[in-house]
Amino acid sequence: MKIKKNVAISESGFIFNPTTGDSFSTNPIGLEIIRMLKEEKSKDEIRKSILSKYITDDSTFEKDYYDFVMMLQTNQVADDSE
Protein backbone atom coordinates (compact mmCIF):
# COMPACT_ATOMS: atom_id res chain seq x y z
CA MET A 1 0.00 0.00 0.00
CA LYS A 2 1.50 3.29 -1.12
CA ILE A 3 0.22 6.82 -1.34
CA LYS A 4 0.66 7.98 -4.93
CA LYS A 5 3.72 10.16 -5.30
CA ASN A 6 2.00 13.07 -7.01
CA VAL A 7 -0.83 13.34 -4.44
CA ALA A 8 -0.60 16.62 -2.53
CA ILE A 9 -1.47 16.59 1.17
CA SER A 10 -1.88 19.80 3.19
CA GLU A 11 -1.40 20.16 6.94
CA SER A 12 -5.13 20.71 7.43
CA GLY A 13 -6.14 17.44 5.79
CA PHE A 14 -6.88 18.73 2.29
CA ILE A 15 -5.82 16.22 -0.37
CA PHE A 16 -5.47 16.85 -4.09
CA ASN A 17 -4.93 14.19 -6.73
CA PRO A 18 -3.63 15.93 -9.90
CA THR A 19 -4.08 12.77 -11.97
CA THR A 20 -7.84 12.70 -11.55
CA GLY A 21 -8.39 16.34 -10.54
CA ASP A 22 -10.25 15.18 -7.43
CA SER A 23 -9.86 16.79 -4.04
CA PHE A 24 -10.68 15.32 -0.66
CA SER A 25 -10.78 16.16 3.00
CA THR A 26 -9.77 13.87 5.83
CA ASN A 27 -9.95 14.10 9.60
CA PRO A 28 -6.81 14.40 11.79
CA ILE A 29 -6.44 10.65 12.39
CA GLY A 30 -6.93 10.00 8.66
CA LEU A 31 -4.21 12.55 7.94
CA GLU A 32 -1.87 10.82 10.39
CA ILE A 33 -2.40 7.46 8.72
CA ILE A 34 -1.89 8.92 5.23
CA ARG A 35 1.35 10.56 6.35
CA MET A 36 2.62 7.31 7.82
CA LEU A 37 1.70 5.49 4.62
CA LYS A 38 3.54 8.18 2.66
CA GLU A 39 6.57 7.53 4.87
CA GLU A 40 6.14 3.87 3.87
CA LYS A 41 5.51 2.70 7.42
CA SER A 42 4.15 -0.80 7.79
CA LYS A 43 0.66 -1.59 9.03
CA ASP A 44 2.12 -2.80 12.34
CA GLU A 45 4.00 0.44 12.84
CA ILE A 46 0.83 2.43 12.10
CA ARG A 47 -1.16 0.23 14.51
CA LYS A 48 1.32 0.78 17.33
CA SER A 49 1.34 4.52 16.74
CA ILE A 50 -2.47 4.84 16.74
CA LEU A 51 -3.02 2.53 19.73
CA SER A 52 -0.45 4.42 21.79
CA LYS A 53 -2.03 7.79 21.05
CA TYR A 54 -5.82 7.18 20.94
CA ILE A 55 -8.40 5.57 23.21
CA THR A 56 -9.22 2.56 21.06
CA ASP A 57 -8.53 -1.14 20.75
CA ASP A 58 -6.84 -3.47 18.30
CA SER A 59 -9.99 -4.83 16.65
CA THR A 60 -11.49 -1.36 16.18
CA PHE A 61 -8.26 -0.17 14.58
CA GLU A 62 -8.13 -3.25 12.38
CA LYS A 63 -11.58 -2.81 10.85
CA ASP A 64 -11.36 0.98 10.57
CA TYR A 65 -7.87 0.79 9.00
CA TYR A 66 -9.06 -1.80 6.49
CA ASP A 67 -12.05 0.37 5.54
CA PHE A 68 -9.96 3.56 5.31
CA VAL A 69 -7.29 1.98 3.12
CA MET A 70 -9.99 0.57 0.85
CA MET A 71 -11.42 4.09 0.43
CA LEU A 72 -7.93 5.47 -0.36
CA GLN A 73 -7.65 2.90 -3.12
CA THR A 74 -11.21 3.46 -4.37
CA ASN A 75 -10.48 7.18 -4.60
CA GLN A 76 -7.14 6.49 -6.33
CA VAL A 77 -5.18 8.28 -3.61
CA ALA A 78 -3.25 5.08 -2.94
CA ASP A 79 -2.46 1.95 -4.84
CA ASP A 80 -1.80 -1.53 -3.54
CA SER A 81 1.68 -1.91 -5.01
CA GLU A 82 4.30 -3.01 -2.52
Partner: protein, 452 residues
Amino acid sequence: MEKIRYERPVIKKLNTGVMNKYGTRTEYAPVTNIDGARVKDLIAEFGSPLFVMSEQTIRKTYKDAVRAFTTRYPKVQFAWSYKTHYNNAICSVFHQEGSWSEVVSGFEYNKALLNGVPGNKIIFNGPDKTDDDLILAINNESMIHIDHLDELYRIIELTDELKKRPKVAIRVNMDTGVYPMWDRFGFNYESGQAWDAINKIILTNKMDLIGLHSHIGTFMLTPSAYAVAATKLSDLAFHIKSKFGKNITYIDMGGGFASRNTLKGSYLMGADSVPTFDDYAEAICSALLNSEYSKEDLPLLILESGRSLVDEAGFLLGTVLANKRLSDGRKATIMDFGVNILFTSFWYEHKISPAQEFSHYTEDSVIYGPLCMNIDVIRENITLPPMKKGDNVVVHTVGAYNMTQWMQFIAMRPNIVMIDMDGKPHLIRKKETLEYMNSLEITPEYLKGFKL
Protein backbone atom coordinates in the same frame (compact mmCIF):
# COMPACT_ATOMS: atom_id res chain seq x y z
CA MET B 1 1.07 10.75 27.66
CA GLU B 2 -2.70 10.90 28.11
CA LYS B 3 -4.55 9.25 25.24
CA ILE B 4 -6.98 11.29 23.18
CA ARG B 5 -10.53 10.55 21.97
CA TYR B 6 -10.61 8.21 18.99
CA GLU B 7 -12.49 9.00 15.81
CA ARG B 8 -12.74 6.64 12.88
CA PRO B 9 -10.47 7.82 9.98
CA VAL B 10 -12.55 9.19 7.11
CA ILE B 11 -11.83 10.57 3.68
CA LYS B 12 -14.50 12.52 1.84
CA LYS B 13 -14.47 13.60 -1.78
CA LEU B 14 -15.13 17.33 -2.17
CA ASN B 15 -17.63 18.45 -4.78
CA THR B 16 -17.06 22.17 -4.71
CA GLY B 17 -19.91 24.22 -6.08
CA VAL B 18 -21.93 21.16 -7.01
CA MET B 19 -25.06 20.14 -5.17
CA ASN B 20 -25.07 16.56 -4.04
CA LYS B 21 -27.91 14.26 -3.07
CA TYR B 22 -26.80 14.19 0.55
CA GLY B 23 -27.60 17.89 0.92
CA THR B 24 -25.89 20.05 3.42
CA ARG B 25 -24.64 18.89 6.77
CA THR B 26 -27.68 18.20 8.91
CA GLU B 27 -26.57 18.67 12.49
CA TYR B 28 -23.79 20.65 14.07
CA ALA B 29 -24.42 20.19 17.77
CA PRO B 30 -24.67 16.90 19.63
CA VAL B 31 -27.92 16.38 21.54
CA THR B 32 -26.74 15.18 24.93
CA ASN B 33 -29.88 15.84 26.94
CA ILE B 34 -33.63 16.18 26.53
CA ASP B 35 -35.38 18.64 28.84
CA GLY B 36 -32.46 18.35 31.25
CA ALA B 37 -32.30 14.54 31.32
CA ARG B 38 -28.99 13.17 30.00
CA VAL B 39 -29.37 10.90 26.99
CA LYS B 40 -26.65 8.53 28.24
CA ASP B 41 -28.36 8.27 31.64
CA LEU B 42 -31.74 7.57 30.03
CA ILE B 43 -30.25 4.77 27.92
CA ALA B 44 -28.38 3.36 30.91
CA GLU B 45 -31.57 3.25 32.99
CA PHE B 46 -34.21 2.34 30.39
CA GLY B 47 -32.25 0.65 27.61
CA SER B 48 -31.82 1.27 23.91
CA PRO B 49 -33.76 1.89 21.76
CA LEU B 50 -35.94 4.14 23.87
CA PHE B 51 -38.80 6.48 23.05
CA VAL B 52 -38.72 9.71 25.04
CA MET B 53 -41.66 12.11 25.27
CA SER B 54 -41.28 15.70 26.45
CA GLU B 55 -44.21 16.83 28.62
CA GLN B 56 -42.88 20.37 28.41
CA THR B 57 -43.05 20.36 24.59
CA ILE B 58 -46.53 18.83 24.54
CA ARG B 59 -47.95 21.49 26.87
CA LYS B 60 -46.18 24.34 25.08
CA THR B 61 -47.29 23.16 21.62
CA TYR B 62 -50.87 22.70 22.82
CA LYS B 63 -50.95 26.19 24.30
CA ASP B 64 -49.55 27.63 21.05
CA ALA B 65 -52.31 25.94 19.07
CA VAL B 66 -55.06 27.03 21.46
CA ARG B 67 -53.79 30.61 21.40
CA ALA B 68 -53.73 30.68 17.59
CA PHE B 69 -57.42 29.74 17.40
CA THR B 70 -58.91 31.41 20.49
CA THR B 71 -57.47 34.79 19.54
CA ARG B 72 -59.38 34.54 16.24
CA TYR B 73 -62.63 32.76 17.11
CA PRO B 74 -64.81 32.90 20.24
CA LYS B 75 -65.68 29.22 20.71
CA VAL B 76 -62.87 26.68 20.25
CA GLN B 77 -62.45 23.14 21.56
CA PHE B 78 -59.63 20.69 20.87
CA ALA B 79 -60.27 16.93 20.98
CA TRP B 80 -57.16 14.79 21.36
CA SER B 81 -56.73 12.37 18.47
CA TYR B 82 -56.20 9.07 20.28
CA LYS B 83 -54.87 7.22 17.22
CA THR B 84 -51.89 9.59 17.07
CA HIS B 85 -50.62 8.57 20.50
CA TYR B 86 -52.98 6.74 22.84
CA ASN B 87 -50.57 6.11 25.67
CA ASN B 88 -52.60 6.91 28.79
CA ALA B 89 -50.00 9.31 30.23
CA ILE B 90 -49.84 11.29 26.99
CA CYS B 91 -53.65 11.40 26.73
CA SER B 92 -53.83 12.59 30.34
CA VAL B 93 -51.51 15.52 29.59
CA PHE B 94 -53.85 16.64 26.80
CA HIS B 95 -56.94 16.13 28.98
CA GLN B 96 -55.32 18.14 31.78
CA GLU B 97 -54.84 20.92 29.24
CA GLY B 98 -58.58 20.81 28.51
CA SER B 99 -58.73 18.60 25.45
CA TRP B 100 -61.70 16.30 24.80
CA SER B 101 -61.00 12.99 23.09
CA GLU B 102 -61.50 11.90 19.49
CA VAL B 103 -61.54 8.15 18.94
CA VAL B 104 -61.95 5.87 15.94
CA SER B 105 -62.56 2.44 17.46
CA GLY B 106 -64.15 0.71 20.39
CA PHE B 107 -60.69 0.08 21.80
CA GLU B 108 -59.86 3.78 21.77
CA TYR B 109 -63.35 4.70 23.04
CA ASN B 110 -62.94 2.48 26.10
CA LYS B 111 -59.41 3.78 26.63
CA ALA B 112 -60.80 7.32 26.78
CA LEU B 113 -63.50 6.26 29.28
CA LEU B 114 -60.89 4.52 31.45
CA ASN B 115 -58.78 7.68 31.31
CA GLY B 116 -61.71 9.46 32.93
CA VAL B 117 -63.06 11.37 29.94
CA PRO B 118 -66.85 11.88 30.33
CA GLY B 119 -68.84 10.14 27.59
CA ASN B 120 -70.29 13.42 26.36
CA LYS B 121 -66.76 14.73 25.74
CA ILE B 122 -65.84 11.87 23.40
CA ILE B 123 -66.12 12.23 19.63
CA PHE B 124 -66.54 8.86 17.97
CA ASN B 125 -65.24 8.83 14.38
CA GLY B 126 -64.34 6.07 11.98
CA PRO B 127 -66.07 3.56 9.72
CA ASP B 128 -65.93 0.65 12.18
CA LYS B 129 -68.33 0.95 15.10
CA THR B 130 -69.80 -2.32 16.35
CA ASP B 131 -73.29 -2.54 17.84
CA ASP B 132 -71.72 -2.71 21.30
CA ASP B 133 -69.67 0.41 20.53
CA LEU B 134 -72.72 2.31 19.26
CA ILE B 135 -74.89 1.28 22.23
CA LEU B 136 -72.17 2.39 24.65
CA ALA B 137 -71.73 5.70 22.81
CA ILE B 138 -75.49 6.33 22.64
CA ASN B 139 -75.94 5.60 26.35
CA ASN B 140 -72.99 7.87 27.19
CA GLU B 141 -74.35 10.69 25.00
CA SER B 142 -71.13 10.79 23.01
CA MET B 143 -70.89 12.62 19.70
CA ILE B 144 -71.23 9.91 17.06
CA HIS B 145 -69.88 10.94 13.68
CA ILE B 146 -71.72 8.89 11.07
CA ASP B 147 -69.48 7.61 8.28
CA HIS B 148 -71.88 5.79 5.93
CA LEU B 149 -75.55 5.03 5.35
CA ASP B 150 -75.29 1.50 6.78
CA GLU B 151 -74.20 3.05 10.05
CA LEU B 152 -76.98 5.64 9.87
CA TYR B 153 -79.66 2.96 9.40
CA ARG B 154 -78.20 0.84 12.20
CA ILE B 155 -78.29 3.78 14.58
CA ILE B 156 -81.96 4.38 13.64
CA GLU B 157 -82.69 0.73 14.54
CA LEU B 158 -80.81 1.05 17.82
CA THR B 159 -82.73 4.18 18.83
CA ASP B 160 -85.93 2.13 18.71
CA GLU B 161 -84.36 -0.55 20.91
CA LEU B 162 -82.74 1.86 23.37
CA LYS B 163 -85.46 4.53 23.36
CA LYS B 164 -82.79 7.22 23.24
CA ARG B 165 -81.99 10.12 20.92
CA PRO B 166 -78.29 9.87 19.98
CA LYS B 167 -76.27 13.02 19.41
CA VAL B 168 -74.79 12.71 15.95
CA ALA B 169 -72.86 14.53 13.28
CA ILE B 170 -72.06 13.46 9.77
CA ARG B 171 -68.66 13.31 8.25
CA VAL B 172 -68.53 15.25 5.00
CA ASN B 173 -65.89 14.74 2.31
CA MET B 174 -65.38 17.32 -0.39
CA ASP B 175 -63.18 18.81 -3.06
CA THR B 176 -61.00 21.42 -1.37
CA GLY B 177 -58.71 21.91 -4.33
CA VAL B 178 -55.96 19.59 -3.09
CA TYR B 179 -54.81 16.25 -4.41
CA PRO B 180 -55.48 13.53 -3.42
CA MET B 181 -59.07 14.25 -2.48
CA TRP B 182 -60.09 12.15 0.49
CA ASP B 183 -63.50 10.75 -0.42
CA ARG B 184 -63.55 7.36 1.23
CA PHE B 185 -64.74 8.62 4.60
CA GLY B 186 -68.15 10.15 5.17
CA PHE B 187 -70.64 11.58 2.68
CA ASN B 188 -69.69 13.60 -0.37
CA TYR B 189 -70.60 17.27 -0.49
CA GLU B 190 -70.54 17.98 -4.22
CA SER B 191 -72.63 14.97 -5.25
CA GLY B 192 -75.36 15.77 -2.74
CA GLN B 193 -74.76 12.66 -0.56
CA ALA B 194 -74.15 14.79 2.51
CA TRP B 195 -77.33 16.83 2.08
CA ASP B 196 -79.25 13.60 1.48
CA ALA B 197 -77.90 12.10 4.73
CA ILE B 198 -78.73 15.30 6.63
CA ASN B 199 -82.32 15.17 5.36
CA LYS B 200 -82.66 11.51 6.36
CA ILE B 201 -81.33 12.21 9.87
CA ILE B 202 -83.54 15.19 10.52
CA LEU B 203 -86.72 13.87 8.90
CA THR B 204 -86.60 10.45 10.61
CA ASN B 205 -86.54 12.44 13.87
CA LYS B 206 -84.79 9.70 15.79
CA MET B 207 -81.58 11.51 16.65
CA ASP B 208 -80.21 15.02 17.12
CA LEU B 209 -77.93 16.28 14.38
CA ILE B 210 -75.70 18.59 16.38
CA GLY B 211 -72.56 18.83 14.27
CA LEU B 212 -70.86 18.70 10.90
CA HIS B 213 -67.44 17.15 10.51
CA SER B 214 -64.75 16.99 7.86
CA HIS B 215 -61.22 15.67 7.76
CA ILE B 216 -59.81 16.73 4.45
CA GLY B 217 -56.43 15.00 4.52
CA THR B 218 -53.21 14.52 6.40
CA PHE B 219 -50.02 16.58 6.57
CA MET B 220 -51.88 19.37 4.77
CA LEU B 221 -49.43 21.97 3.52
CA THR B 222 -52.17 24.27 2.13
CA PRO B 223 -54.14 26.13 4.81
CA SER B 224 -56.50 27.54 2.18
CA ALA B 225 -57.94 24.03 1.71
CA TYR B 226 -59.32 24.31 5.25
CA ALA B 227 -60.95 27.62 4.33
CA VAL B 228 -62.75 25.86 1.45
CA ALA B 229 -63.86 23.07 3.79
CA ALA B 230 -65.05 25.50 6.48
CA THR B 231 -67.02 27.46 3.89
CA LYS B 232 -68.70 24.33 2.51
CA LEU B 233 -69.61 23.06 5.99
CA SER B 234 -70.98 26.50 6.85
CA ASP B 235 -73.12 26.43 3.71
CA LEU B 236 -74.56 23.08 4.80
CA ALA B 237 -75.26 24.47 8.27
CA PHE B 238 -76.94 27.50 6.76
CA HIS B 239 -79.15 25.28 4.55
CA ILE B 240 -80.13 23.23 7.62
CA LYS B 241 -81.10 26.45 9.40
CA SER B 242 -83.07 27.66 6.36
CA LYS B 243 -84.94 24.42 5.72
CA PHE B 244 -85.45 23.02 9.23
CA GLY B 245 -84.90 26.01 11.52
CA LYS B 246 -82.21 24.03 13.40
CA ASN B 247 -78.85 25.39 14.49
CA ILE B 248 -75.77 23.25 14.14
CA THR B 249 -73.97 23.29 17.52
CA TYR B 250 -70.48 22.59 16.24
CA ILE B 251 -68.30 22.47 13.16
CA ASP B 252 -65.50 19.91 13.49
CA MET B 253 -62.63 20.61 11.10
CA GLY B 254 -60.84 17.34 11.91
CA GLY B 255 -57.06 17.26 11.91
CA GLY B 256 -54.35 16.99 9.29
CA PHE B 257 -52.16 19.94 10.30
CA ALA B 258 -48.53 19.25 9.37
CA SER B 259 -45.77 18.80 11.94
CA ARG B 260 -42.27 20.17 11.39
CA ASN B 261 -41.00 16.93 9.90
CA THR B 262 -39.50 16.87 6.40
CA LEU B 263 -41.41 14.80 3.87
CA LYS B 264 -39.33 12.60 1.56
CA GLY B 265 -38.74 14.36 -1.74
CA SER B 266 -39.39 17.76 -0.19
CA TYR B 267 -37.02 20.46 -1.40
CA LEU B 268 -37.15 22.47 1.81
CA MET B 269 -36.76 21.30 5.40
CA GLY B 270 -40.10 20.82 7.14
CA ALA B 271 -39.28 23.45 9.74
CA ASP B 272 -38.90 26.00 6.93
CA SER B 273 -41.90 25.05 4.85
CA VAL B 274 -44.86 23.80 6.90
CA PRO B 275 -47.64 26.24 7.82
CA THR B 276 -47.90 27.44 11.42
CA PHE B 277 -50.92 27.09 13.72
CA ASP B 278 -51.59 30.75 12.98
CA ASP B 279 -51.74 30.03 9.23
CA TYR B 280 -54.30 27.27 9.72
CA ALA B 281 -56.26 29.29 12.29
CA GLU B 282 -56.43 32.33 10.04
CA ALA B 283 -57.80 30.26 7.14
CA ILE B 284 -60.41 28.38 9.19
CA CYS B 285 -61.56 31.16 11.51
CA SER B 286 -61.83 33.74 8.73
CA ALA B 287 -63.95 31.36 6.65
CA LEU B 288 -66.31 30.72 9.57
CA LEU B 289 -66.56 34.36 10.62
CA ASN B 290 -67.20 35.46 7.03
CA SER B 291 -70.01 32.92 6.51
CA GLU B 292 -73.76 33.44 7.02
CA TYR B 293 -73.82 32.78 10.78
CA SER B 294 -75.26 35.45 13.03
CA LYS B 295 -73.16 36.30 16.07
CA GLU B 296 -75.46 34.22 18.32
CA ASP B 297 -75.44 31.21 16.01
CA LEU B 298 -71.68 30.87 15.59
CA PRO B 299 -70.96 27.17 16.11
CA LEU B 300 -68.34 25.73 18.39
CA LEU B 301 -65.16 25.08 16.38
CA ILE B 302 -63.74 21.64 17.18
CA LEU B 303 -60.23 20.62 16.10
CA GLU B 304 -58.93 17.05 16.21
CA SER B 305 -55.25 17.81 15.69
CA GLY B 306 -52.87 15.01 16.59
CA ARG B 307 -49.64 15.00 14.62
CA SER B 308 -48.96 18.75 14.89
CA LEU B 309 -49.48 18.68 18.67
CA VAL B 310 -47.30 15.73 19.61
CA ASP B 311 -44.77 14.98 16.87
CA GLU B 312 -42.08 17.36 18.10
CA ALA B 313 -42.44 16.13 21.67
CA GLY B 314 -41.20 12.67 20.70
CA PHE B 315 -37.58 11.49 20.45
CA LEU B 316 -36.14 8.08 19.73
CA LEU B 317 -32.81 7.28 21.34
CA GLY B 318 -30.78 4.57 19.68
CA THR B 319 -27.35 2.97 19.47
CA VAL B 320 -24.98 2.22 16.61
CA LEU B 321 -24.70 -1.54 16.12
CA ALA B 322 -22.18 -1.57 13.27
CA ASN B 323 -20.65 0.29 10.35
CA LYS B 324 -20.09 -1.23 6.96
CA ARG B 325 -19.12 -0.22 3.44
CA LEU B 326 -21.57 -0.84 0.60
CA SER B 327 -20.46 -2.08 -2.80
CA ASP B 328 -20.71 1.40 -4.33
CA GLY B 329 -18.47 2.91 -1.65
CA ARG B 330 -21.22 4.44 0.49
CA LYS B 331 -20.94 4.17 4.25
CA ALA B 332 -23.76 2.33 5.98
CA THR B 333 -24.52 2.54 9.68
CA ILE B 334 -26.76 -0.03 11.33
CA MET B 335 -28.82 1.18 14.28
CA ASP B 336 -30.65 -0.83 16.92
CA PHE B 337 -34.02 0.62 15.81
CA GLY B 338 -35.72 -0.08 12.51
CA VAL B 339 -38.89 0.64 10.59
CA ASN B 340 -40.71 -1.73 12.94
CA ILE B 341 -40.71 0.94 15.65
CA LEU B 342 -40.01 4.00 13.49
CA PHE B 343 -42.84 3.55 11.03
CA THR B 344 -42.76 7.20 9.98
CA SER B 345 -39.32 6.79 8.40
CA PHE B 346 -41.21 5.44 5.37
CA TRP B 347 -42.29 9.00 4.55
CA TYR B 348 -40.13 11.39 6.61
CA GLU B 349 -36.45 12.35 6.37
CA HIS B 350 -36.11 12.25 10.15
CA LYS B 351 -33.50 14.52 11.64
CA ILE B 352 -30.87 12.44 13.44
CA SER B 353 -28.33 13.93 15.85
CA PRO B 354 -25.33 12.27 17.50
CA ALA B 355 -25.64 12.10 21.28
CA GLN B 356 -21.93 12.64 22.02
CA GLU B 357 -19.23 15.15 21.15
CA PHE B 358 -17.65 14.82 17.71
CA SER B 359 -15.30 16.66 15.41
CA HIS B 360 -16.47 18.71 12.46
CA TYR B 361 -15.66 15.94 9.96
CA THR B 362 -18.63 14.19 8.38
CA GLU B 363 -19.47 11.26 6.16
CA ASP B 364 -22.30 10.64 3.71
CA SER B 365 -24.12 7.61 5.02
CA VAL B 366 -27.11 5.35 4.77
CA ILE B 367 -28.84 4.53 8.04
CA TYR B 368 -30.25 1.02 8.31
CA GLY B 369 -32.27 -0.62 11.02
CA PRO B 370 -31.46 -4.03 12.54
CA LEU B 371 -34.20 -6.00 10.82
CA CYS B 372 -33.25 -8.71 8.39
CA MET B 373 -35.37 -6.98 5.75
CA ASN B 374 -34.26 -4.96 2.74
CA ILE B 375 -36.93 -2.32 3.38
CA ASP B 376 -35.47 -1.50 6.78
CA VAL B 377 -33.97 1.87 5.81
CA ILE B 378 -34.20 4.80 8.23
CA ARG B 379 -32.40 7.40 6.05
CA GLU B 380 -31.27 6.76 2.51
CA ASN B 381 -28.86 9.72 2.53
CA ILE B 382 -27.64 11.59 5.57
CA THR B 383 -24.46 13.43 6.50
CA LEU B 384 -23.26 12.55 9.98
CA PRO B 385 -19.96 12.57 11.86
CA PRO B 386 -18.13 9.24 11.89
CA MET B 387 -19.80 7.11 14.54
CA LYS B 388 -18.57 3.89 16.03
CA LYS B 389 -20.28 0.87 17.51
CA GLY B 390 -21.91 1.82 20.80
CA ASP B 391 -22.35 5.52 19.98
CA ASN B 392 -25.81 6.95 20.58
CA VAL B 393 -28.11 9.00 18.39
CA VAL B 394 -31.28 11.01 18.91
CA VAL B 395 -34.00 10.87 16.24
CA HIS B 396 -36.21 13.94 16.33
CA THR B 397 -39.92 14.55 15.77
CA VAL B 398 -41.16 11.00 16.20
CA GLY B 399 -44.02 11.61 18.67
CA ALA B 400 -46.90 11.08 16.25
CA TYR B 401 -48.12 7.64 15.15
CA ASN B 402 -44.91 5.71 15.84
CA MET B 403 -46.06 4.52 19.26
CA THR B 404 -49.45 3.43 17.90
CA GLN B 405 -48.46 2.05 14.51
CA TRP B 406 -45.29 0.29 15.68
CA MET B 407 -44.93 -3.37 14.86
CA GLN B 408 -43.81 -6.22 17.05
CA PHE B 409 -41.62 -7.74 14.37
CA ILE B 410 -38.52 -9.82 15.20
CA ALA B 411 -37.89 -7.82 18.38
CA MET B 412 -39.99 -6.44 21.23
CA ARG B 413 -41.32 -2.91 21.38
CA PRO B 414 -39.15 -0.78 23.69
CA ASN B 415 -39.82 1.33 26.77
CA ILE B 416 -41.40 4.76 26.55
CA VAL B 417 -40.47 7.40 29.11
CA MET B 418 -41.85 10.89 29.58
CA ILE B 419 -39.70 13.71 30.93
CA ASP B 420 -41.88 15.74 33.28
CA MET B 421 -41.89 19.52 33.68
CA ASP B 422 -39.01 19.27 36.20
CA GLY B 423 -36.78 17.15 33.96
CA LYS B 424 -37.55 13.89 35.75
CA PRO B 425 -38.09 10.79 33.58
CA HIS B 426 -41.13 8.55 34.17
CA LEU B 427 -41.59 5.14 32.58
CA ILE B 428 -45.00 5.37 30.85
CA ARG B 429 -44.97 2.09 28.92
CA LYS B 430 -42.92 -0.97 29.73
CA LYS B 431 -40.97 -2.74 27.02
CA GLU B 432 -42.50 -5.98 25.88
CA THR B 433 -40.99 -9.27 26.95
CA LEU B 434 -40.87 -12.77 25.51
CA GLU B 435 -43.02 -13.92 28.43
CA TYR B 436 -45.67 -11.32 27.56
CA MET B 437 -45.68 -12.25 23.86
CA ASN B 438 -45.82 -15.96 24.63
CA SER B 439 -48.63 -15.44 27.14
CA LEU B 440 -50.89 -14.50 24.21
CA GLU B 441 -50.14 -17.67 22.27
CA ILE B 442 -51.62 -21.13 22.72
CA THR B 443 -49.85 -24.24 21.41
CA PRO B 444 -52.23 -27.22 21.00
CA GLU B 445 -51.28 -30.16 23.22
CA TYR B 446 -50.58 -32.48 20.27
CA LEU B 447 -47.84 -30.09 19.03
CA LYS B 448 -45.98 -30.00 22.31
CA GLY B 449 -42.76 -32.00 22.39
CA PHE B 450 -40.72 -33.22 19.44
CA LYS B 451 -37.47 -35.00 18.69
CA LEU B 452 -34.89 -33.49 16.37
